[in-house]
Amino acid sequence: MHKIKALNDFVIKFANINGTGSASANSMFAKAIFRMGIPVSPRNIFPSNIQGLPTWYEVRISEKGYLGRRGGIDVMVCMNPQSMAKDVAEVEAGGYFVYDSSKPLDIQYIRKDIHYIGIPFTQICLREYSDPRQRQLFKNIIYVGSLAALLDIEFKVLQDLVSEQFKGKEKLIAPNIHAMELGYRHAQENFECPLPVRLKRCDNVGNQILIDGNTAAGLGAIYGGATVAAWYPITPSTSVVDAFEKYTRRLRIDPGTGKKNYAIVQAEDELSAMGMVIGAMWNGARAFTATSGPGVSLMTEFLGLAYFAEIPVVLINVQRAGPSTGMPTRTQQADVLAAAYASHGDTKQVLLFPSNAKDCFDMTAQAFDLAERLQTPVILMTDLDLGMNDTLSPPFEWDDSRTYDRGKVLNAEQLDKIEKFGRYLDVDGDGICYRTYPGTHPSKGAFFTRGTSRDEYAVYTEDGAAYLRNVERLLKKWETAKDHVPAPELYAERNPGTADGVLFYGTSASSTLEALDILAGEGIELDAIRVRAFPFNQDVQKFIDAHQRVFVIEQNRDAQLRSLLLIENNADPQKLISLLHIDGTPIMARSIAAQLRKYFDSNVTPLRRSAKSAG
């Protein structure tokens, strides 16, 4: 029978039961591979449930460094009888199925094209431990030990990880290492170790770090100078503020008094969270909130106020599958339109699209500068896949000479020099006006912030001409924003002269780039652009203009970014072809490649433009 053979390049998936303590064992497994210098990308695929339901942990190991979801499973570690039928079916032909052989495997789970590795995890636990809780917890450690033998993970690396994990609880170290050894020995004694699918130390990780996007965003908020975090818990965004809290507690305590140089308030709901952010930023502090789709819905009324009253706001939207409550623990990019036009009336919000953890850090820090520069909400459009999964990332960097851009804020001395302050006067002609913080000056600079129409001096008016001047100035500010938001990343130079392009954003990046490599290997060469912000920079239009077809890759049903491109960029609808993925799992390189391939299988025309038309 065919056996999959692979060195440092395969996908392994763990099928667990939610709430049984498998998460820490699984992450230890992934981190061990990372420490062996092999690029790794683990993903939790979990239900919206506290315990009992099936949960999966899928680990992509790719020496070349592909971090997107590949598709297909080479090794399945099945610890949950409940999901076994599905789990067996998912294994690639020639792959391996590791299961608990304490009881014989039912005939229905036997496939002739995969290899079975039965290890009696339950029996080992029953033999070794009397405490039911220990029997459950150590079962996870035992399978990690078995995999160390089967896949050739360096045992010393695992030992070190156990020691680090239980630092401060030293008496737990030896029992955990013992459990790992039990699994390791059993595999070695009963199977040919390692399997043809295996690992070998290499040096392809470099100085990268392993971190999830939400933690990266929480750190970005600290470095961006946020002092107020107001939030309401919601999956999958909760860990953003958890991370902010964890690191601010370490990094932001006033050395003199021991008091906090920050404030975190768990609000009663998302409406209140957004109100607090608006109040704090109006009053001169940098503030943010983190939420997901249902929370964004609740915040839209306030987002409209912030847009119209021109108050900076930073909102981190960790998208999940909608609509409504949708699939709370599954990923999508389906809030694009809701966020872009959040609130009623003519409203446009600035969006940033991070593709990896470093983007989450950089863009969150940058969001505060942008929000204050533009005096408007800035929404970071991350998602569950990026937010809640550990991912390889270049180390975070901070230039100590960097200063915060606090935007156009007048202090008392500047107000003294002005004859009459006008909050909504377009002094510089860029659509961005000057603001003042409350309490700045005894007689100048005070104004009334409101969601109702007002004139240039912030005096309430329903005069049509004054309203028109105001909303048109807001459009001018929108134009100004195009030069401030992150420019798109172009991959055009990799395929000069290609007639077709691929446009993608956010977490589709790693899978898309891998799919382009797969296709390039088949002679199908495509240009690519990664959109990083809305409003769209001019380069986005140029890219569309320069190609005959542009495939827009998205993780939503209704091609929301494509709609945005059609509305805002006047793009030709015939040109923009959607490739969509919407089942709540992260988009896969294989599926992108397969969808794209269809357009080229039937297309025998040369893919390259003539030198002339390529310009």
Binding site: Y262, V265, S272, N283, F302, Y404, A446
Partner: protein, 350 residues
């Protein structure tokens, strides 16, 4: 439209300790109905702030949506104001206060704004003991949409159309006390002599101060049968006593005939003198306050005055232990941990 007042004023107007005349505490000209109780409340705020010699620009005034929420435009024109969305002033005030604990926060809301859409935010701003004065201008009806009953309208009270209200009213003072407010008072917009000292005491209070001001709607809820009409309220007011505010710098004597006096020390060292009426209760006793409110309610009367106060209140900043320096004034050096700390974080993630 907001019409701005001319800046000239009579040269002989008396000045407060800061050299300001009361005109310095005024705002734009009101666009509310002539005779609206809300304008009397604005006048009381102006008088209170002038008498207390508050620097106008050190006040942040916030409101929601509705007739009452328009009033911050009509007082303290040199203060920053924030007219937020319906019922959500408390969260804006919370954020603003978190950013800068050094300013004075005056929130103005209405019975629709607070007792209906804003009930949730009201409850939570009380729980968090935000250091602010939260004032409800309570007329039991919706004026801007022409007279629908609000959630504070009494059962059986008739609207202008003659329709009786079927639902139980929300009594904001009782709720505020139950939720943990540390200063709760009620007054009547027409009783300036009670309202002004009450506002002064509330502004001086450290923690969350709530005043429910019954302020009849002259246009839509001043009819026979309404329990919030001028005539009805005047006939059914039962005062706990007159409240007098005494700043440390200069004592202000009441124009009222004094009864028995109880002295209460506030956090800033100033004191309020309570002149108890026959119905007076121990204002430090939450249960006694609730009983007294309920007793008067049973008689069909409003108990007014300072109803409850906890002189040992802690505010939100103390609860969460934020630094004394306003967060908005922290420097980059205090905010950004720098590249070295980031390198340590990177190392911990390998």
């Amino acid at each position: 439209m907001s019409y701005q007042r001319p800046t000239i004023h009579h040269p002989e107007l008396p000045k407060n300790d800061l050299g300001y005349v009361s005109r310095d505490y005024e705002g734009a000209i009101s666009t509310l109905c002539a005779g609206c109780g809300h304008d009397s409340i604005s006048a009381a705020v102006i008088q209170a702030c002038w008498e207390m010699s508050i620097e106008p620009h050190r006040v942040a005034k916030l409101s929601g949506i509705g007739c009452s929420s328009k009033t911050p435009t009509y007082f303290l024109g040199k203060s920053h104001g924030f007219n937020s969305v319906h019922g959500r002033m408390p969260s804006i005030a919370t954020g603003a206060n978190l950013a800068n604990r050094d300013l004075i926060y005056i929130g103005v809301s209405g019975d629709g704004d607070t007792a209906s859409i804003g009930m949730g935010q009201f409850a939570h701003v009380v729980r968090r003991s935000l250091n602010m004065l939260y004032m409800v201008e309570n007329n039991g009806c919706y004026g801007l949409t022409k007279g629908q009953d609000s959630a504070t309208a009494d059962i059986g009270s008739k609207s202008k159309k003659g329709v009786e209200n079927l639902y139980s009213p929300i009594d904001l003072v009782s709720i505020a006390i139950q939720l943990g407010a540390t200063f709760v008072g009620r007054s009547f917009s027409g009783d300036k002599q009670q309202l002004i000292p009450l506002i002064k005491a509330a502004v001086s209070h450290h923690g969350f101060a709530f005043i429910d001001v019954i302020s009849p709607c002259v246009t839509f809820n001043n009819n026979v049968g309404s329990t919030k009409s001028y005539d009805y309220v005047r006939e059914h007011v039962e005062a706990t006593g007159t409240v007098d505010f005494v700043p440390m710098r200069k004592e202000i004597t009441t124009q009222y005939e004094a009864g028995k006096t109880q002295e209460v020390t506030l956090h800033d060292g100033s004191t309020i003198h309570l002149h108890k009426a026959e119905t007076g209760h121990d204002i430090h006793d939450r249960q006694a306050a609730l009983n007294a409110i309920e007793d008067q309610k049973r008689k069909g009367s409003y108990l007014t005055g300072l109803l409850y106060m906890d002189p040992n209140a802690a505010d939100l900043h103390e609860m969460i232990s934020t630094t004394n320096k306003p967060l908005s004034q922290l420097t980059e050096a205090e905010l950004c941990p720098g590249s070295k700390a980031l390198e340590n974080i990177n190392n911990s993630l390998r």
